[in-house]
Each structure stands twice: as structure tokens, then as C-alpha cells.
Symmetry: C2
Subunit: 190 residues, 2 copies
Amino acid sequence: MKSKFFNKATDIAKYIIRESVKDGDIVIDATAGNGNDTAFLADQVGVNGKVFAFDIQDMAIQNTRKKLQELNLINRVTLIEDGHENIDFYVKNEVNLIIFNLGYLPKGDHKIITKSETTIIALKKGLELLSKNGILLVVIYSGHEGGKEESIEVENLLSSLDQREYNTIKIDFINQKNKPPVLIGVEKKG
Amino acid sequence: MKSKFFNKATDIAKYIIRESVKDGDIVIDATAGNGNDTAFLADQVGVNGKVFAFDIQDMAIQNTRKKLQELNLINRVTLIEDGHENIDFYVKNEVNLIIFNLGYLPKGDHKIITKSETTIIALKKGLELLSKNGILLVVIYSGHEGGKEESIEVENLLSSLDQREYNTIKIDFINQKNKPPVLIGVEKKG
């Protein structure tokens, strides 16, 4: 019996994506980073689907483009080098899923981090774009400088959503000593 | 896109059981109650598996037996009318999964509740019985009298488990006003 439920926040997010995102879906990767989630999403949405992938860093966009080209998935993805707080300027569709992977770019400059000011704007705009039964996933790190503040603000926002319209769950790894990331998931009710 | 991840704690527990418990597994329902989980587990373990179901209340054991008989699953279940703190007296096998549904018996006497004193003993003994990759699930209610105290003690115990041996996750419904139950899951590492 090998469990799929008790791994890292990023693994659980991936698992939820695998079980939720279907062929033809329109989804957003709000933090493209090195393109891992973007590629996974592009694979899940199929030839009829669409991924919008945002990152403010040129290096992240380049890395993501390279990965997508290697995997022959670039045609399913619109790469946008801009902050995710401008998400509504680029995405006019309803979307089935949005993922945020907060913090800094792995292998990048650890001083360039997502900041609560823009993250909160992006989350609010993302929630507006969600279709019925659409899902918002946020992987939250609190170990780096500024991370704690951001995690509190994000949790405050998502825990205050009207329960008649949204379900918000928080998945926490409560016996880990080194502040592993937590996952907050929001589902817009159908 | 219909989600399976953002429902009640009991639904998520059921989902984890469905994805984890296999034909031939040995499992424990530490709180048989009205037999819903017991029947579900008995279905999952198949003809080669085994369920041990505990409840301290005669009515719960009777309800559970009736349900199992109706579903023709009684042969897969050993019903034990005793407190789950005596679990080790009856179960000598390694088990693949244990579920606790704390609080009171639905439709029963709401004054008869699981108490942290015996719950903690049962949880410790349950953890000892888990096989590698075995899973312990605890659905925790804090709305009733005594529930808050019990929930704190259970979380203290399970969040203090050695991370080299166990992964503990907590799933919380953070935008619900009426203190819905939370789910804590523990996986023994392989």
C-alpha cells in the first residue's frame, strides 16, 4: 500500500491537477518558475486545452519556453512575462484551474520573491476568473524572509471567502520541523 | 470538472480509503458507530481481507451488524464491543489502515462521547499496529462539549510524531463558520 496523500504540498497539488484537469480545459500557471507545473498542465489540458503561464522574470520565461519546446508542448501555452497581478489583462476566459507556487525561483535569485501586495491582487483576480467547480491551488512557503508575512495574508484572504460560494481547505504537514510548504485549495461551488 | 478534494473530512477520508485499501488488507474501524465506515472498509478489503470494528456502545454494534448483514459483508468483519483503548488485546496482526471517527454516535446519546484519555491510548496502540506505508485517519470534531479538548490532545500527539518514521498531515476547512470536522492523516514510512 503506497500512499499518494502524504507527500509534499507540491506533490498533492500535482495529484489534484491530475485528477481534476481534463482535456480541453483552460488553466493558469501564475508562477511559471522553471516550467515544471506549466509543462504538467500543458500535458493535462491536451491538444484542445490552453495554459496561460505568467512570470515576472525573464530567466523563468526562458526556462519554461525551453522545457515546453523540448516536450513539444509549446503550442498549448501562452507565456506572459508580466506580474500575475495583471492576469486579467491577458486572460478573458473562465478558467478551470489556477496554480500559484509562491516564494522565489528555484535556482534563481532568492531575493526576488513573490510579495503579498501583488500576490493578494493576483489571487483576487484569479478567483474572479474561476469557472464553476474551478480550483485555485496555492503552495505557500514561509521559511524565507518575507514568506511568513505573505503566508499569513494569503491565508487571511482565502479563509475569509464566503462559504456559500467557495470551499477552502488547508493541508498542513504538522509533524515536520523545517516549515515545509503548505497547500491551500479553493473550489468555487457549482 | 467536479472536485473530489474539497468536501467534508469524512468524504476525504473515504476517498483516501478507496485509493489506498486493497484486496486482502487488514484494517480497523476504531469507532464503528452506525457502521458506515465499517461497511465501506469491508467492501474495500474484499473476500480475502479483514475488518476489526470496535465500539463501546451496544447500539452501535447492533446497528453495524445489521448493516453488514444486509450487505452480506458480515463474514469479513470481527465486531468487538469494547473500548478501542483495548485494541491490542484483539488485534495481533499488522494493519494497513485504521480509522477513528471521534465524537458521539450520530442519532445516539450525544452525551456519550469519545474521551481524550482513552482516545490517546487507542491512537498510540493503533500506530504500533500499522504496517509500513500503513495509514491512520482521524476525523476530529471540536464543536461538542469536550470536543475542543480532545481535538487539541489528538493534534498534539500526532504532530509530535517523529518525521523520520511518520508523515502527518492535517486537512482543515478554513472558510467554514460552524467548526466542521478536520481530518488528520498519518502515514508510517516504508
